[in-house]
């Protein structure tokens, strides 16, 4: 935590410096060449993921503060082809910075590199493409998040006294191509290995869609009521109305275990209802804020502190759900 606090301090100091003393070179460049304000385009995996709305608001507020324009452009549903098309469009428009949340790191790598080659400052946000030429990644350490989820699972299983049992576990993920989600799974598996006996029944894929996620879980439980535990690499299944998951509700009441990523307001509400026993959250606001800030730094040729801008993790369990919910702003977007 100390390290995290020190990092936060240095970032804030940097932002103050950028705001109060804009770099001379950047001004010169801006006054001689630029005829429009700096434009930073953030390309999420999809627009329909409400969890990112917080990141958008933070990014816009940061942009206003830094006197730059921020755009939020992406496919409505997760669709790597549209993402690529959008980035191509941004390259043509010659925006100053792009932050991409990669739904398929392999597919997106070439277009990221193309944007970089076109002189655009490119970062990744939330979901990384580490093999690309992006400047930095701003978001959660997804492997660490997976490890935390694994640890939470161990704790719950141990508390239930099921350590000797082989548990049927199902992973629900958004995509097999997304680096962030795969890292979470990797962390989870590494953390639980040799600690508890898990039989990975299946991998459910929901394309990061709330409705699809809920339906996939319901369908699986109807077919496999012997399932003991779920690991959700995102909170998609909990973003819809809980009444849409009666089988899951009953399964939870029967003692089913679920550990999920995300601690946004609706997810915490679902957890309080008994839909999850442990949550590991991300800080979307920081993602939006830091991404814009460091891209502005990059555009103005200021140094970036690290290739990985960690926005930290938020851990919650049944004991802290209620308290944590108090700190969250309720969503009113539906």
């Amino acid at each position: 935590m100390d390290l995290l606090n020190r990092k936060k301090g240095s970032i804030l100091l940097l932002l103050v410096l950028i705001t109060v003393f804009p770099p001379v070179k950047a001004l010169r460049v801006g006054s001689s060449v630029r005829t429009r304000p700096i434009i930073i385009s953030i390309v999420p995996k999809s627009l329909d993921n409400p969890m990112l709305v917080e990141a958008k608001a933070a990014a816009e507020l940061t942009a206003r503060r830094l006197n730059v324009q921020v755009e939020w452009v992406g496919p409505f549903k997760v669709d790597v082809d549209t993402q690529i098309q959008i980035i191509e469009g941004l390259i043509r428009r010659k925006v100053d910075g792009i932050a991409v949340s990669c739904s398929d790191e392999e597919r997106l790598r070439p277009v990221i590199d193309k944007a970089v080659a076109a002189g655009i400052k490119v970062a990744t946000i939330g979901a990384d493409a580490p093999e690309s030429n992006r400047l930095f990644y701003c978001g959660t350490d997804n492997y660490a998040a997976g490890v935390e989820c694994g640890k939470a699972m161990i704790r719950i299983v141990t508390a239930k006294g099921w350590t000797d049992r082989e548990l049927n576990l199902v992973i629900l993920t958004g995509s097999t191509k997304a680096h962030d989600l795969n890292e979470r799974i990797r962390g989870f598996k590494d953390a639980t290995a040799d600690q508890i006996k898990l039989n990975y029944q299946t991998l459910l894929i929901c394309d990061e869609d709330t409705t699809t996620a809920a339906k996939a879980v319901e369908a699986h439980l109807k077919k496999h009521p012997e399932t003991d535990a779920f690991f959700f690499t995102g909170g998609w299944a909990f973003l819809g109305p809980p009444e849409a998951m009666p089988v899951y509700d009953q399964w939870c009441q029967n003692g089913g275990i679920t550990v999920a990523m995300d601690t946004s307001y609706p997810v915490l509400q679902a957890a309080l209802r008994g839909f999850a026993q442990a949550l590991v959250g991300q800080d979307y606001r920081k993602m939006g804020e830091f991404t814009v800030s460091y891209l502005v730094c990059a555009i103005k040729d200021l140094p970036i502190p690290s290739e990985f801008i960690d926005t930290g993790l938020e851990l919650a369990d049944e004991a802290s759900f209620s308290e944590l919910l108090q700190t969250k702003k309720p969503w009113d977007i539906k």
Binding site: L47, A57, I86, G89, D332, I333
Partner: protein, 598 residues
């Protein structure tokens, strides 16, 4: 080749009835066929042009209707611009309320994407604020309003003119070809808040127009209000001036109406909602090609019909002329053989002609037979006449007279007598000629009378009065001598007194030559005269006629030679005399004596 030509000419002589029938058939069929072909050609051309025009018009109307329906749909979608969430978003955007707009942002993304999903041709449905923020199906972007033409069009309109505007085609920021439609959004106080716009894939126009074909190569193209092509089956022409298709300089006439330009048939119609023009372009050459096919077919039809007509004409003319040819062949054969009979197979005019020809042949044969008999009879009569002329008794007596004259030394009379007898025989023979001049005939009678007068002495006298104008005409020989002989032996010789007179007169009445031989001799009773005349007319059988053998011979010769209207007429009064009238035709030159009538 010459052989073929000869064969052809032989078979189809131009003046033959068959050729005439064939030509008539061909002509009668060809003229209406050609007229029909021309009429059909031009009627078909007109119908084809009318059909092309109607079809083009229908196609263009269909395109217009499709576009109109589509644009009307878009207009209805744009009615959503007054949606509460949109207005709220615009209002909060004006005051930069980022946190407050989160809810509306997400809601708008969802709504706008639902609209986009509803119509697959839409690339973007967006709201653009006065601050240049554009929220659409792909999130939120910033636009330079001064460069946004659609925004400028709508911003410059009034609230009264709050209709849909169209701009494009143009490239959207994602690299797609689109055209944009949009409507202005006004606030509670008719204040302009921004616009709602829809970007439609240009492929939509292609989808509406691409598969439309006018003929094989004709097509539909769309042109915007500036004369730029916004759709063409050849994508490389999109964005170019319509002048490339219609030729420069381009006026405005192409926007509506139907006309031809070069090898193209063009029909234009303006789409009012967008002020675009829908142009249908057909290839005239296709029309002509189709007409060429029709013309070829017509030509083939005409040629085929002519061939059929000629074949039918050949067949029919053969059927029709076959009896005529048979008739002709029979006629030719009849020239050599009058026993030929024309076969009559039909009851039509040709059959009747054949029948008539057969009847004619029968009559000819009959006449021929009759003629032969008559000629035979004529010869017999002539022989008899000659035999009569050279009776031994006549010669003996004449010679006795000559001897007597010699004994009495009347040498002068002997000489005259011998000369008269010589002339008598010479004319009697006449070198075998049938006809002699009247002069010779009269001289003959004169010689005869001279000889007889010398024999009979002063018993009677004679007088010959012949008009000079008739002596050069011809007559059968030896006609008068038997009449004079009758007048001598049955008339005047037996008279007691020596006052007998024989008068031979010759004169002309109209077209007839008349001779009268009259005497003042014993005459005949009326019943005998009637019997003789009846015998001459053939009303009394020959074997029953006891008298008038010489008269009958003369009469028959005349009738056989010249016809029934000629011959002898006898009148006589007992003890007063007899008159025989002989009527002959006027014959000039060396005409051959033929039977003139039956």
């Amino acid at each position: 080749m010459a052989v073929v030509r000869k064969l052809f000419l032989k078979r189809f002589r131009l003046k033959s009835l068959r050729t005439k029938i064939i030509l008539s058939f061909a002509g009668l069929s060809l003229i209406p066929l050609i007229l029909l072909a021309f009429l059909s050609y031009y009627t078909y051309l007109e119908i084809l042009q009318q059909n092309v025009r109607t079809y083009t018009e229908t196609v263009i109307n269909r395109v217009e209707r499709n576009l109109q329906i589509y644009l009307s749909d878009l207009e209805r979608i744009l009615e959503l611009r007054n949606d509460y969430y949109i207005l709220q978003y615009l209002k909060l955007s004006l005051i930069d309320d980022i946190e407050g707009n989160q809810k509306y942002t997400y809601r708008l993304w969802e709504n706008l994407n639902n609209i986009k999903k509803y119509k697959t041709d839409l690339r973007e449905v967006a709201i653009t604020t006065l601050k240049g923020v554009k929220i659409g199906c792909y999130g939120v972007t910033n636009v330079d309003l001064s460069q946004n033409n659609l925004f400028q069009i709508l911003a410059n309109r009034t609230t009264q003119d709050n209709t849909m505007a169209i701009y494009g085609p143009h490239d959207d920021w994602l690299g797609g070809k689109v055209f944009s439609v949009g409507c202005a959004i006004y606030g509670d106080y008719d204040n302009f808040l921004g616009i709602m716009s829809i970007d439609v894939e240009l492929d939509l126009l292609a989808r509406i127009c691409r598969d439309i074909r006018l003929g094989k190569s004709g097509y539909v193209t769309l042109v915007d209000q500036n004369g730029q092509i916004i759709f063409h089956p050849q994508p490389e022409l999109i964005g170019k001036s319509v002048g490339l298709l219609l030729g420069n300089p381009v006026g405005e006439s192409w926007r509506s109406g139907y006309y031809t330009h070069g090898n193209r048939v063009i029909m234009g119609k303006t789409l009012p909602l967008a002020n675009w023009s829908i142009i249908g372009i057909s290839d005239r050459a296709e029309l002509i090609a189709e007409m060429t096919t029709v013309a070829r077919m017509s030509f083939a039809l005409i040629v085929g019909s002519i061939i059929v007509v000629i074949l039918v004409a050949l067949l029919l003319s053969g059927v029709l002329t076959k009896p005529l040819k048979e008739l002709q062949a029979s006629m030719r054969a009849a020239a050599d053989n009058l026993n030929t009979i024309v076969p009559v197979r039909t009851d039509d005019e040709i059959g009747q002609l054949g029948r008539a020809f057969n009847q004619m042949l029968t009559q000819i044969r009959q006449l021929m037979r009759q003629s032969v008999q008559e000629q035979k009879k004529l010869r017999q009569i002539e022989m008899q006449v000659l035999q009569e002329q050279i009776k031994p008794h006549f010669i003996y007596n004449t010679l006795e007279v000559i001897i007597g004259l010699l004994e009495t030394d009347q040498n002068e009379d002997v000489i005259k007598m011998v000369e008269a007898l010589g002339a008598f025989f010479r004319i009697s023979l006449s070198q075998g000629r049938e006809l002699i001049s009247i002069k010779e005939e009269v001289d003959h009678v004169r010689n005869y009378l001279y000889i007889q007068k010398l024999r009979h002495g002063e018993k009677y006298d004679y007088r010959i009065e012949v008009e000079d104008g008739i002596v050069h005409f011809k007559t059968l020989k030896l006609l008068l001598q038997p009449l004079v002989e009758n007048a001598i032996y049955h008339g005047v010789r037996s008279l007691v007194s020596n006052e007998g007179l024989i008068v031979v007169r010759g004169y002309r009445t109209e077209e007839t030559i008349c001779f009268e031989v009259s005497d003042n001799g014993r005459g005949m009773p009326a019943d005998l005269v009637m019997a003789l005349n009846r015998s001459l007319r053939g009303e009394q059988p020959e074997d029953q006629a006891k008298h008038g053998y010489g008269l009958r011979n003369v009469h028959e010769r005349i009738v056989l030679a010249f016809g029934q209207e000629y011959g002898l007429w006898l009148t006589s009064t007992l003890d007063q005399g007899t008159r025989v009238v002989l009527r002959l035709p006027m014959i000039k030159g060396e005409e051959r004596v033929e039977r003139r009538s039956g």
